[in-house]
Structures are given as C-alpha cells and as structure tokens.
C-alpha cells in the first residue's frame, strides 16, 4: 500500500480528496478503508482458516484452524503494542523506532492522508496478521502448537516489521522506488520463502511421498478461496487508502487476474491429468490474487489478463511438478503459490506498470527498464533477509520450545486429537 508519502501524492492528484486538502478527514475514504480493514481481517480467521484447514488432512483440520486463528490474535496484539511502531515510526531506512509503542501519540483526531491514523494502523495490522498466517501452509500436520506460537511472536517482530518498514514505512526500498502496491514482497514472497525454510527445517511428514495426503475437505477449501477473493478487494483496492478511480482500477485487475488464473490452472491440469480438480481451480484463484497484489495499483486490464494466466500455469507447475522434483514437503504449498507467484507479480509490476494509473509508476514496457532492476533487487533482498532471518527465528524457537515437531505417534494419530483433544466433526 502507499507509503504516507505516496498517500499525499495521491491527494494532490484526486479531484475529490483534494477538495478537502491533505490531512483532512474524508468520510467516504474513511468509510471505505474501515470496511477494507474488516475485509482483510476476515481473510485470516475465516478465509485462510478454511482454505488451509480444508487442505490439511482430516486428523489435523482443527489444528490448522487453531494455528491460523492464534496467528491472527498474536500478530494483532503485537502490532498495536510494538509492531506498528517498528514498521512505521521514525526515519530509519532499515527499521522504525519505538516512539509509537502502544500507539503513543496517536489519538482519535490524528489523520493520515484523508483517514484517521487509527484506521491506517488497523489496515496495516491485518496485513501483518495474514502474512504470518500464510506461513502455516508449509508446516501443517507436524509442528508443535507451542512452537508455532513462539515462532509467530518472533517472526512478526523481527522479519515482518522490518520488511514492512522498508517498503511502506519510508525505508530503503521505498526510497529506491520499488513498486509494491499491496504486498508482493512484504506479504507473499516473505511468507512463501519463510514457509519453505521452515518446511525444510521441520522435515517431511511421516509417510510423505508414500501415501496420498488428500485434503480433508475441498468443499471448505473452495469456500475459503471464495472468502479470500472477497477479502482481497479490501486488500488490494483498500491499499489505495481512498475511494477513488485508482482503487476501482485495483479492484478491476484483482478480479480479472484471479478469474484468469483459475481458468489457466484448470486448463493446465485438465491437459496435464485429464481432469480439472476443484482444488486446482481454488488454488488458481489464490495464485492469481497473489500475483496481482504488488501490481494492483499500477497495471491495466490487459496486463492483468496476462499476469493471471501466467500465475495459473506457474502455480500448477510449481505444486505438481517442481515440488515433487525438489522433494521438499511444502504441505499446502505456501511457497509454491505465494512465494513463486509473488515473485512473478513483483517482476510483472516492473514490466507492466503504467503511469496512466499511478503517476510516475512506469515499468519496462512503458519506457522504464530501470524499474525492472529495482524490482529484482527488492525481490532478492526480501528473499535473502527472510530466508536468513527465518532460519535464526526457527532456530531460537526450537531452543525455547524443545524441538519444533510433535512426536511420531502424535503425528500419526493426528494433531487434533493429540494437541487439542478434539475432532473436526462429531457425526
């Protein structure tokens, strides 16, 4: 989403908002971003919990829900206590400071751009929450619940907050001019790479490769994908921080990319295996949403068709071929879908960004090859930082919780029963 700087810029460009002038509250913009925040919030405990829960095996359905919900709870508390401050206060180029601890200095009359600062804080909070929750997709079926809790606290603090600062908090990436409208680097590449790292450190699930690990419910997963899609309009169009034409354009390309990617994944799978699965269609939706995220406020309709089409094929290829080839156990494909499609989206932004949508944001095909390099740098820097940082965070977590992984018997029996003493359905 816009850096504050960006937000001001927009104000000067938009007839309506400018009618109010910078830093005066606009009730229409505020109404939209309050709702957008609620939509993005819903993505984690409802959308993602269903999407991931339905993909995990039945014996781990509730555990997957629990990890997702608790990730949201922890991250949202961390954010308002110290996370926001680390990401958005101060002028540092690497990380923020602690001036805004407990949101100190922000009140009901504080305004950022045309919305209350509290709304900006909350909107950003929902991004921190879903980012760490996305990591779950790589680790379900085998991680200790206690380890997950400790990991969440450390990862949000030491990995998410600095990267959010780089891109949206006025840090070095924004100074460099990297384009990341709604979180290609900050959210998807970050979560996807972290997921891969921790999946490798956890090791494969018992029986992985030998037995088919069918999703507990493709029905729930598809409902989850539908709710994620719904929420994603808040995620991408909300990142404009105003109710204007750019938000509308972001909405347009978001929907188009998701739809195209679902069709592309379906086609690829149909050709590849002879049958189009609903799991594939649902995964395609998410792949398309991920890919358009960094580009949402910068690219036009035709680019979104292409971005989505490539995302669908790339996603299918990475979860059905690449993963098997490489042999890592990315349980629900957080890396395959979020990591790889996030990288594609960040690159695509460097290719297709057009000034016609956001003044001054141009990609290779609009005469600005430099942007592509900036995107590449930002991608590599994100991968490097999150990869190394996550290794350290996981390593500390392992120490603090005496191992990351449940014992073999509990894993075989299932985490719902062994960790929570419950079952998903009691028919």
């Amino acid at each position: 989403m816009k850096t504050k700087l960006g937000a001001f810029l927009v104000l000067l460009l938009l007839p309506t908002s400018s009618a109010f002038g910078a830093d005066e509250l606009n009730t229409g913009d505020t109404a939209w971003i309050i709702v957008a925040t609620a939509l993005v919030m819903m993505m984690t405990p409802a959308g993602l919990a269903l999407f991931y829960g339905g993909m995990s095996r039945y014996k781990n359905l509730l555990n997957t829900f629990a990890m997702t919900v608790i990730a949201y709870c922890l991250a949202s508390v961390i954010w308002v206590v110290w996370g926001y401050s680390l990401a958005f206060s101060g002028e540092g180029s690497l990380v923020g400071n602690l001036d805004a601890l407990m949101l100190r200095g922000i009140g009901i009359n504080s305004v950022s751009g045309t919305i209350p600062t509290y709304v900006f804080v909350l909107f950003q909070m929902t991004f921190a929450c879903i980012t760490v929750a996305l990591v779950i997709g790589s680790v379900v079926d085998r991680m200790k619940f206690s380890s997950w809790i400790v990991f969440t606290v450390l990862w949000v603090t030491f990995i998410y907050c600095p990267i959010a600062h780089w891109v949206w908090g006025g840090g070095w990436m924004s100074q460099l001019g990297a384009l990341d409208f709604a979180g290609g680097n900050v959210v998807h590449i970050n979560a996807g790479v972290a997921g891969l790292v921790i999946a490798l450190m956890l090791g494969k699930r018992v029986g992985y490769g030998k037995e088919a690990m069918f999703p507990s419910s493709v029905t729930l997963t598809t409902l989850g994908a539908g709710l994620l899609w719904f929420g994603w309009f808040g995620f991408n169009a909300g990142s404009e921080l105003a109710a204007d034409g750019v938000a509308a354009s972001a909405f347009l390309v978001t929907n188009t990319s998701a739809a195209t990617a679902a069709l592309a994944w379906m086609a690829a799978e149909w050709i590849g295996t002879g049958k189009p699965t609903l799991l594939g269609i649902a995964s395609g939706i998410v792949a398309g949403l991920v890919s358009i995220t960094p580009a949402a406020g910068f690219v036009g309709l035709s680019a979104s068709l292409l971005i989505g089409a490539v995302a669908g094929v790339l996603g299918f290829f990475s979860v059905s071929k690449l993963k098997l080839k490489m042999g890592y156990d990315d349980s629900l494909d957080a890396f395959g879908v979020h990591g790889l499609c996030g990288i594609w989206g960040a690159l695509a932004t460097g290719l297709f960004a057009t000034p016609a949508i956001t003044e001054g944001a141009a990609g290779l095909f609009y005469g600005n090859p430099k942007q592509l390099w900036i995107q590449v740098i930002s991608i590599l820097a994100t991968i490097a930082y999150t990869a190394i940082g996550t290794v350290i965070v996981v390593w500390i977590t392992k120490l603090l919780t005496g191992g990351l992984r449940v014992n073999r018997d509990d894993e075989v029996k299932g985490l719902d029963s062994s960790l929570h003493g419950e079952r998903g359905f009691e028919f």
């Binding site: 088919a212 069918f214 699965t277 071929k321 494909d333």
Partner: protein, 112 residues
Amino acid sequence: MKKIEAIIKPFKLDDVKEALNEIGIQGMTITEVKGYGRQKGHKEIYRGAEYVVDFIPKLKIEIVVEAARADSVVDIIAKAANTGKIGDGKIFILPMDSAVRVRTGERGADAL
C-alpha cells in the same frame, strides 16, 4: 439356521431388498464396507498426481434364515445383485447355532 452375508454394489440395494421382500424376507442388516478384489478402483487426483483408490465402496447385507430357505435366498440375491460386470460381489453362507429376539426373548426360527 444359516447366516447369509452378501457383498454387493451399493446401487443394487433396492433391487435386492425388493426381491427379498417378494419371497417374504422381512429382516436384514446392512453395513457399509470397502471391497478389495479384481475390480479396479477409481482414480483420485491430488496436486496433478493420480492415485488409485483400490478399496471400493460396497454394501454388506446380512440375513439370518432357517437352513431350509438359505439356498433360495442366495439365488434370489445372486440374481438381483447381478450386473455381469466385475465387482458384483460375493455371497457367503455361514452356519449358525441360534438366534434370539431381544424384545421377546424368543429363540430360534421364531426370533427372525
């Protein structure tokens, strides 16, 4: 007294039930089972890979009858459950000592 256990294709249940009613068989117990045999199972697809599920849904029908009626019951079931395709199932005939009706305590043939 004999116990007849028939493993049949699920969608054949109604045909079998009706055929048995016609010869006056009023009682039976059905169990959902999974069968493994010559019949190949269907394929399930997950993340682009195909998995053959070689356990196929079947129904097990258990009927206890007087020894004298066993053969006719077996024939009826065999006819009603037949599609001529692999996987039609089996009928097993087992010996029995006796039967009791819980409600009345009746024993033997009266219990059926």
